[in-house]
Amino acid sequence: MAGLELLSDQGYRVDGRRAGELRKIQARMGVFAQADGSAYIEQGNTKALAVVYGPHEIRGSRARALPDRALVNCQYSSATFSTGERKRRPHGDRKSCEMGLQLRQTFEAAILTQLHPRSQIDIYVQVLQADGGTYAACVNAATLAVLDAGIPMRDFVCACSAGFVDGTALADLSHVEEAAGGPQLALALLPASGQIALLEMDARLHEDHLERVLEAAAQAARDVHTLLDLVVRQHVREASILLGD
């Protein structure tokens, strides 16, 4: 994009970060008392809320029940005031449906669905402010919410986005960097085993560079895991103090 330097000669990005640096992450579990599990995450200026209901009986038609595992149902919704230009419909449009399906695929890989046959787990994600990396923020918030609900998972699911500019791989893209039109990679990782739950890439990228971008995204996801781990431990510590252990 003419006029906007995504990576300066000294190696600084538009918002002053280095190439592999993440934005500031703050998170909290147990935001809503009525839901089974809930969490809130802020990644820079991107804010996302996730709420989990379940496992409970299948709603709607019983025919959808799976005899050997639980059904994971995800909905992605972004508030009308979340983007710079006002969005007309919060959910139901093509992009939201696609995001919902991607989240579903991600969490079916991580949740131990065999433990809850014939039941349904609902994951609802709400984006309050979108400044790039919305998929990653949603996955991270949903991981914390599923943990808050006490649903057993194989491992944390940590996600991050990555891009490629001037021969350098950038981690955790903001909206300005995403809008510039370069290649973008979204990665959801299970950190302990290093398995990839979801990998998606837009735009053209030479295959020689793919490994570098993938490695940058994986490293960023592992960094996110360190932070989320701290949040979970802090939450458990607070809960056990309140119980008087």
Partner: protein, 291 residues
């Protein structure tokens, strides 16, 4: 509406308690639950507010955009309301499940704000018949524990108080073509006066008495409710009965008197909190959902 299953015994217990002016959580019939209000929660809006009334959680964002004035009111801007009942509140709101409730609440908001004295729409006019500000007020319902209308009206008032609309000037060329110029200073903006913006007070009839700020369980026991929109001076601007039961005319007058009393106190404390928050200035620590 998100509903809760109550047994007959629980309903009788609640009704007997209300008769004695003692509700399940210890409040009196005219007491509100603890209300938390915070403004400026979402940064890419012109104004925003979050209200937590017990377990009811509402987030309102106001975006100001330029548009053309309506034909019958060429010197005024206007407000557009949209209510999104998020699936966070209950799985029943997934997909299109929350649309009915959302439309009902939005229509109520339209009716309240259609009153000329609520908001001075002439301040939103840029040039008559050509340009005006349109304020899109978007309400997001995150958690539902009864008394939605009250919480939403408080949040809308707080968000409108927090709204900052950039100041623009219309420059006219020699040929007569108009150009709109934005002021250079990003902090130069116009604020709306929310002195006359009303708040809704919902009164639910339980047995022979009525209660203010009903929880979900109390709403399940009540057959009929009255929504009264009250301004800070105690004037009633809008009245609506909801629910499947019926009300007799005397109780409607009693409920209206209660709502005027309660409404004045509510407005006074809301103004207090909003001014206190404003006086802390830009150094105020924003809590949002992290607190």
């Amino acid at each position: 509406m998100a509903s809760v299953a109550l047994s007959e015994a629980e309903k009788v217990y609640i009704m007997h308690g209300v008769q004695e002016d003692l509700r399940v959580d210890g409040r009196g019939c005219e007491d509100y639950r603890c209300v938390e209000v915070e403004t400026d929660v979402v940064s890419n809006t012109s104004g925003s507010a979050r209200v937590k009334l017990g377990h009811t959680d509402i987030l309102v964002g106001v975006k100001a955009e330029m548009g053309t004035p309506k034909l019958e009111k060429p010197n005024e801007g206007y407000l557009e309301f949209f209510v999104d009942c998020s699936a966070n509140a209950t799985p029943d709101f997934e997909g299109r499940g929350g649309d009915d409730l959302g439309t009902e609440i939005a229509n109520t908001l339209y009716r309240i704000f259609s009153n000329k004295s609520s908001v001075d729409l002439k301040t939103l006019c840029i040039s008559p018949r050509e340009h005006c500000w349109v304020l899109y007020v978007d309400v997001l319902l995150l958690e539902c524990d009864g008394n939605l209308f009250d919480a939403i009206s408080i949040a809308v008032k707080a968000a409108l108080f927090n709204t900052r609309i950039p100041r623009v000037r219309v420059l006219e060329d020699e040929e007569g073509s108009k150009d709109i110029e934005l002021s250079d200073d990003p902090y130069d903006c116009i604020r709306l006066s929310v002195e006359n913006v009303p708040c809704i007070v919902t009164l639910c009839k339980i047995g022979y008495r009525h209660v203010v700020d009903a929880t979900l369980q109390e709403e399940a026991c009540s057959l009929a409710s009255l929504l009264v929109s009250v301004t800070s001076k105690g004037a009633v601007t809008c009245l609506r009965k909801v629910g499947k039961g019926s009300l007799d005319p005397e109780s409607i007058f009693e409920m209206m008197e209660t709502s005027k009393r309660v409404g004045k106190v509510l407005h006074a404390s809301l103004q207090n909190i909003l001014h206190k928050e404003e006086s802390l200035g830009p150094k105020r620590q924003k809590v949002g959902f992290l607190g």
